[in-house]
């Protein structure tokens, strides 16, 4: 059986096009099927599975999948940290072209002026960002590994961002200036080295080999050491008299829109059911909005960059599981976006609770229990406290349902209605906690005069709106 890993997200349509043109029709892939395991038309020996793009090189490196398709930037992200990984790039599929850029706020900064202490670099590609900082010999840098929206971080919440963008103009379109292009990326067919050496992969390789051979394999181009600059260019001063509030994009957005609407705090434009600007203007003087990923909010609240954030309790709990003494707390439950965070196993496991499932796996001879989750901190804390014995947490970017049963025994996973679980032949065996959308803030707020007034007004309005909702 040849196992093929395909990307979810934006690459879905173009990759389905390339595969279709080569006579490989992955059923339901281009149309965005909700199931994660797909068959390839007319080829019984091939099975395809959909992953978040970021997870694909890891799955190929682990040998769980023989072949995969993803942007080369994600292969380089893996290679930057694990140079000896067994992933072999085979062919440029010619779609999903983009570049990986180092960018700063558009303030005339150049690469040569970066060498000061304490630079903050936000990126979805933390290993690449780290490799860049090391090669440039930046003194005392910090990498903020974010789940997304890295382009929204400079200048207030980071000095630099390492982001993927179509070209320099697209970087400028985010309001940033591109300083350096680290690589040009596009979607490639990649393979596990051992599969390539030992397994007959002809039925996928042959149809795809008909295309152009492609150029040289794209690699990271790291800069030479930068001269240490004088200490003059300090961090961007944050505006001293506003309260900074983070709002979520993605599936939390509609809950935040509703909660803000009830509290009378909805931006007049740029943040509603259909729109998402990074910096919508707030209706309240002294309050500043920024839209980022809910996953990334607790960290920014902990470091004091952001005063208030609308996020999920799942994200807050994940942060506190990794950093137990972090000074972040929930200040209001917004009573929306409710779902359960549960331990999920395959329907085929003949047990209804964790104890029974563990017994079953051990009886099957499983020495290591694999726990896949978008919440590796929570998953790790759960595995420790529930005595899973020898276990391994597989941190993933999403599309977790497809991991069980082939690539993991257990998922730590949010379930709203249970429909996706049923469709993927999964069932919950343990409830960790109930998550809702909530408002979080730093414990040690240190707000003075006017800012304190604004902060309290916002918290009160959000609380009242939530209580009114609960009373209904």
């Amino acid at each position: 059986m040849i196992k093929l890993a395909l990307p979810a997200g934006d690459l879905r349509t173009p990759v389905a096009g390339v595969l279709g043109a080569a006579g490989l029709n992955v059923e339901g892939y281009g149309e965005g099927s909700r199931t994660y395991i797909l068959s390839v038309g007319g080829r019984e020996e091939v099975v395809a599975r959909v992953f978040r793009e970021k997870d694909i090189p890891i799955q190929i490196a682990l040998g769980n999948y023989d072949l995969g398709v993803c942007g080369m930037a994600w292969v380089e992200e893996l290679r930057a940290r694990f140079p000896h990984h067994p992933v072999v790039p085979l062919r440029d599929l010619g779609v999903g072209r983009s570049g990986l850029y180092v960018a700063s706020a558009a303030d005339g900064r150049t690469l040569a002026s970066l060498g000061r202490r304490g630079l903050r670099i936000a990126s979805e590609y933390p290993n690449v960002a780290e490799a860049f900082a090391l090669a440039a010999r930046l003194p005392a840098y910090r990498v903020l590994a974010v789940w997304g929206a890295a382009e929204a971080y400079p200048p207030e919440d980071a000095d630099l961002a390492v982001i993927a963008a179509a070209d320099e103009a697209a970087v400028s379109g985010h309001g940033l200036s591109p300083l350096l292009c680290l690589m040009e990326s596009s979607a490639w067919l990649i393979a596990n080295a051992e599969s390539l050496a030992k397994k007959d992969l002809r039925s996928v390789l042959e149809p795809l080999a008909a295309g152009a051979a492609g150029a040289a394999t794209p690699r990271l181009r790291l800069p030479p050491p930068l001269a240490t600059a004088s200490a003059s260019a300090g961090p961007a001063p944050r505006s001293a008299d506003t309260v900074r509030m983070a709002l979520p994009d993605g599936h939390q957005q509609r809950h935040a829109v509703a909660a803000l609407g009830r509290a009378g705090l909805l931006p007049p434009q740029g943040y509603d059911e259909s729109q998402c600007l990074r910096r919508p203007v707030s209706p309240l003087p002294g309050l500043e909005f920024k839209v980022i990923r809910p996953h990334d909010m607790p960290q920014l609240v902990a470091t004091g960059e952001i005063d208030l954030a609308v996020t999920g309790r799942d994200c807050l709990t994940e942060h506190l599981s990794r950093f137990p003494s972090s000074p972040v707390e929930e200040v209001a439950d917004l009573q929306r976006g409710q779902f359960d965070l549960a331990a999920v196993a395959s329907e085929a496991v003949p047990a209804s609770d964790l104890g029974g499932a563990l017994e079953h796996w051990h009886a099957e001879g499983r020495q290591v229990i694999r726990v896949a989750s978008e919440f590796p901190g929570i998953a790790d804390a759960y595995a420790r406290s529930r005595h899973l014995g020898r276990y391994r947490v597989i941190p993933i970017a999403g599309a977790s349902e497809g991991f069980v049963p082939a690539d993991a025994e257990l998922l730590i996973e949010g379930t709203e209605t249970g429909r996706t679980l049923t469709e993927n032949k999964l069932k919950p065996i343990d409830l960790l906690f109930r998550s809702t959308t909530c408002l979080i803030a730093g414990k040690d707020r240190g707000l003075d005069g006017r800012r304190r007034g604004v902060f309290e007004q916002v918290v009160r309005a959000m609380q009242q709106a939530a209580n009114a909702r609960q009373a209904v």
Partner: protein, 408 residues
């Protein structure tokens, strides 16, 4: 490969090796204390940023550190398992000992660096740092101290002396920028045959003499004069490093120490600023060090000259032969019965014997070749390695008999 529960690259130190390891450590401590050095220890975890500043750890080493976010690392600030001890020692000096004074420090501690396959990822180092003393006194003292440690262990080592300033001056004269210099120098060190002709092409005025500088290993003073006459005309920047080397090599030779000079030797090119040395036994590197005058100011605010060295404790322990084991074999006191009174008298006798400086156990079976003492009221029966039992009636007599048994 056999399955093991140990992490790859991590080793247990078993009793035999641990004894050899302690002998290395004791020889090192005794020598350092004798030269007026004080022992310190630095933490296993340090901030990663201490090591990432240019001029501290080389990029190659930085690619092999164990770094992660600590439980309170929400700011994204990483910590690292100490990959080197000199930089932590420099931090310790800058934070706790600075004040313009000379600090003479030594330590025995481990460093962690990723290595391929089964190669060790944890290494123990006997390190010395002499901070605040400028050359050449410091450089000479460190070579002599390292040799004394080896002398105490009965190990004869070759001393190889170098100065990064020599190669740096040549490479700069060839018009190479900092990163090109590093790349070419690495090729020379790696034994790349095409590197030397390439450099000769860039520097026709010294041409063939480069072979003498980079290809030959010279003997002390004589070789240094030859280099001087061949190079100073075209590369005047070599004068200062040659002078520094000549003073150190001259003094050491006068003290009866044979010195080899090797221009291309120092791996950590960014780090060393002055004379550097390396100790080898049968071609294997067992330690080395040198001058790093720029390091303290990169970490603290103050400038201070500094030099240091480290010996590879594990490698040295491996060079020692097993000995002394028999004298450390514990004697075993055997109680007549397992009742409280019999056990108490056995433990009482063991305590009395230990007070007399003997190693004595009650729990555990007697090691092979170890003596046994059976207690029966006031009578003690001592059985030595020969297997013959002697009845004795005083603790003093038992102690004497055990000393004899250990001595034979």
């Amino acid at each position: 490969m056999d399955r093991t529960l140990r992490c790859t690259g991590m080793r247990d130190i078993l009793p035999d090796e641990m004894r050899r390891f302690r002998r290395v450590e004791e020889a090192f401590r005794a020598a350092c204390l004798g030269w007026g050095y004080d022992e310190v220890r630095t933490p296993v975890l340090e901030h990663l940023h201490l090591f990432t500043t240019a001029g501290t750890l080389s990029p190659q080493l930085l690619g092999r550190v164990y770094s992660f976010l600590d439980w309170d690392g929400w700011s994204g600030e990483r910590v690292v398992l100490r990959p080197d001890s000199t930089i932590p020692a420099a931090r310790l000096y800058a934070e706790s000992l600075d004040g313009g004074r000379v600090a003479k420090l030594f330590y025995v501690q481990n460093v962690f660096r990723f290595a391929e396959g089964d190669d060790s990822r944890e290494d123990w180092q006997c390190g010395v740092e002499l901070i605040g003393e400028s050359q050449p006194h410091g450089d000479i003292e460190l070579v002599l101290l390292a040799r004394e440690v080896l002398g105490r262990l009965g190990i004869e080592a070759d001393v190889r002396l170098s100065h990064p300033g020599l190669v740096r001056a040549v490479l700069a004269r060839a018009g190479l920028d900092a990163s090109q210099q590093l790349a070419l120098y690495d090729r020379i060190l790696d034994g790349d045959d095409s590197a030397l002709p390439e450099l000769q092409g860039l520097l026709p005025e010294v041409g063939a003499s480069l072979e003498m500088l980079l290809g030959i290993e010279g003997e002390g003073h004589a070789y240094l004069s030859n280099v001087r006459s061949a190079f100073l005309g075209s590369v005047p920047e070599m004068e200062a490093p040659l002078d520094e080397l000549a003073v150190v090599a001259g003094a050491l030779e006068e003290l009866g120490c044979r010195i080899l000079i090797s221009a291309a030797m120092v791996r950590n090119f960014e780090y060393y600023t002055g004379p550097a040395f390396q100790l080898e036994v049968a071609g294997r590197r067992i330690g080395g060090g040198g001058r790093y005058d720029a390091l303290i100011s990169l970490i603290g605010d103050r400038q201070a000259p500094a030099s240091g060295f480290a010996l590879e404790a594990g490698v040295l322990a491996g060079l020692l032969s097993d000995e002394e084991r028999r004298s450390r074999l514990p004697a075993t006191v055997v109680a007549r019965a397992a009742d409280s009174a019999s056990l108490a008298s056995a433990f009482r006798l063991a305590a009395a014997l230990r007070e007399r400086g003997l190693a004595v156990q009650v729990a555990g079976s007697p090691p092979e070749g170890g003596a046994r003492v059976e207690v029966s009221g006031e009578v003690f029966a001592v059985t030595g390695a020969a297997g013959k039992a002697r009845k004795l009636d005083s603790v003093e007599a038992v102690a004497e008999a055990l000393r004899e048994a250990a001595g034979d």
